[in-house]
């Protein structure tokens, strides 16, 4: 059944009807009890209350239930689009279409729970984006997208001031100035909602390496904000 990874620790959902509120076990003293977590937010956006329920939807979709397929699309496509816009903004929608075609082709033979489906979807998206860059004859760049200084001044200032940004702008601001590797890991963690362990499988690096990469990425972002971009 569904297993949510939080802080590297797996949490089993022993009650399927339990609303997913992954317990925050980190040692952060100011963590507010009951604060919404991202996994729960993803689930609730799709009107699902639990990972187990979502897993059942995945299973129904695999059997050809078109309502279930529709639900999966509505639930996961926003994150998929945002991930791809972070990687290749100009081709995000076309790539998302390719990803869904690929998923549709493999759905009948897919086996796994909702976490596995999410990981499969974003692994496919990552491969598609890499293929797309190869088709264009590009190599992965050392620097991902533009730096904060190269961002739209309004976006950069808004981010600095903590103002509300458009979703796409927020994604760009989040990964601006990071290396491609850091940006990829950050997008998979934050936008795709994957755990460090799941990301490690997708990018083909040890989990410890993924944690180091994400640590550096966050540190880099924090430094930018600390020094006013």
């Amino acid at each position: 059944m569904g297993r949510i990874m939080a802080g590297g620790e797996p949490f089993s959902l022993d009650d399927e009807r339990q609303v997913v509120r992954v317990r925050f076990r980190a040692e952060t003293p100011n963590a507010a009890p009951g604060a919404p977590d991202r996994v729960a937010t993803h689930l609730e956006q799709g009107r699902y209350e639990s990972s187990a329920e979502l897993t059942r939807t995945v299973e129904r979709a695999c059997k050809g239930d078109e309502d279930a397929i529709t639900d999966l699309y509505r639930l996961f496509n926003p994150a998929l689009l945002r991930f791809l816009k972070g990687r290749i903004p100009s081709a995000a929608e076309d790539l998302a279409a390719e990803v869904w075609v690929s998923v549709a082709k493999g759905l009948a033979t897919f086996q796994g729970d909702d976490r596995d489906f999410r990981a499969w979807l974003f692994a496919t998206a990552r491969r598609r984006s890499i293929d797309h860059l190869r088709r264009l004859g590009r190599r992965p760049r050392l620097k991902h997208v533009e730096s904060m200084e190269e961002l739209d001044p309004f976006v950069a200032e808004s981010a600095q001031m903590g103002m509300q940004l458009e979703v796409d702008e927020a994604v760009r601001a989040l990964i601006s100035g990071l290396t491609s590797e850091q940006a990829e890991v950050l997008l998979l963690r934050v936008v795709a909602g994957l755990s460090a362990e799941e990301v490690s499988h997708i990018v083909g690096k040890p989990e410890g390496t993924v944690r180091v990469i994400q640590h550096r990425a966050i540190k880099r972002l924090a430094e930018k904000f600390q020094h006013g971009m």
Binding site: F24, A26, E66, Y73, A104, L165, R211, I218, Q226
Partner: protein, 304 residues
């Protein structure tokens, strides 16, 4: 800046702690993360039916392995829809001017338009891209019109037109370019019109070619009242602007503004008492000017 612990990083990335739980610089990162995970917008969640179609096609084994086949083209909805809309709206005029679809189809298209304008919409369904659709669109339209009139394959404009079409296609298919040629030949000859024509020829124990040769010989345009000057301007670039503008993602922005507005595109036919058909067509996709090369009239057709 204080060192950032792994726990704090994890709390930040998993979104399980409020912004107030972090130092100021991380709180701003947190706000960006939260914004990047904002609730889905409408455009991000539309287009699910294309995935369902892709799934159905996959079950039927219809999806090309490259993933860029028909289903993908459906997923890239807006572009295809814009092209299809342009084709549908300019259908008869554009296709006829390729030199492939005979003039008589215009009279059939006119009949379809006047009797049931909605039938022209059906022509879109067989299109997969703008190139092939230039021939497919009018074919289905004409089929609809002709089938209604051809129950007995009575003589008249339809039979004359069908024979003219048949002869033109079998004789001139190689003059068309690219994908259109083979598509036209196979698609047109497989149409109900030609099947009826074949039945009629068979009922007279002759081949379709002989039948049509005989029939056309007995109904030479020069002997009729109409003037059939061939003014076919075959340069109709029907897909020049068909891509439209704006968001074209099958993943949710298909309904985006400005896509595939038909504008003035359309086939307006008028059939005079002398059997002269005039077709005026022009496509306007979005705010772009009408497609160049689409003439405003086609040669008159004689009615035997």
């Amino acid at each position: 800046m204080d060192p950032i612990s792994q726990e704090i990083i994890e709390a930040l990335l998993s979104g399980k702690a409020p912004a107030g739980a972090f130092p100021e610089e991380l709180a701003k990162v947190k706000s960006l993360i939260d914004r990047a995970n904002a609730p889905a917008s409408y455009t991000e969640t539309t287009g699910a039916h294309h995935v369902v179609q892709a799934f159905r096609a996959a079950q039927g084994g219809a999806i090309p392995t490259g993933g860029r086949g028909k289903v993908l083209s459906k997923l890239l909805t807006a572009k295809a829809a814009a092209a299809a809309a342009a084709i549908a709206l300019t259908g008869g005029a554009a296709a006829a001017l390729t030199g492939v679809v005979p003039v008589s189809f215009h009279s059939n298209a006119h009949g379809a338009l006047t009797s049931n304008a909605a039938q022209t919409n059906d022509s879109v369904t067989s299109t997969t891209d703008s190139t092939t659709s230039t021939t497919a669109a009018p074919d289905s339209t004409a089929t609809t019109a002709f089938a209604g009139e051809s129950q007995g394959m009575a003589s008249g404009a339809n039979l004359f037109g069908e024979c003219t079409a048949y002869m033109a296609i079998t004789r001139g298919s190689t003059t068309t370019t690219g994908v259109g040629s083979s598509t036209t030949l196979t698609g047109a000859l497989a149409s109900t019109n030609f099947q009826n024509l074949a039945k009629l020829a068979a009922s007279q124990n002759t081949s379709v070619t002989s039948f049509c040769t005989t029939y056309l010989g007995a109904h030479k345009p020069g002997s009729q009242s109409a003037n059939s000057s061939a003014n076919a301007n075959a340069n109709a670039d029907t897909h020049a602007n068909a891509g439209g503008s704006g968001n074209a993602g099958g993943s949710g922005n298909a309904g985006g503004s400005g896509n595939a507005k038909g504008g003035n595109g359309g086939t307006h036919g008028s059939l005079s008492a002398q059997g002269t058909v005039s077709v005026s067509g022009g496509a306007t996709v979005g705010s772009k000017p009408p497609v160049t090369g689409v003439p405003t009239s086609v040669p008159p057709v004689s009615v035997p």
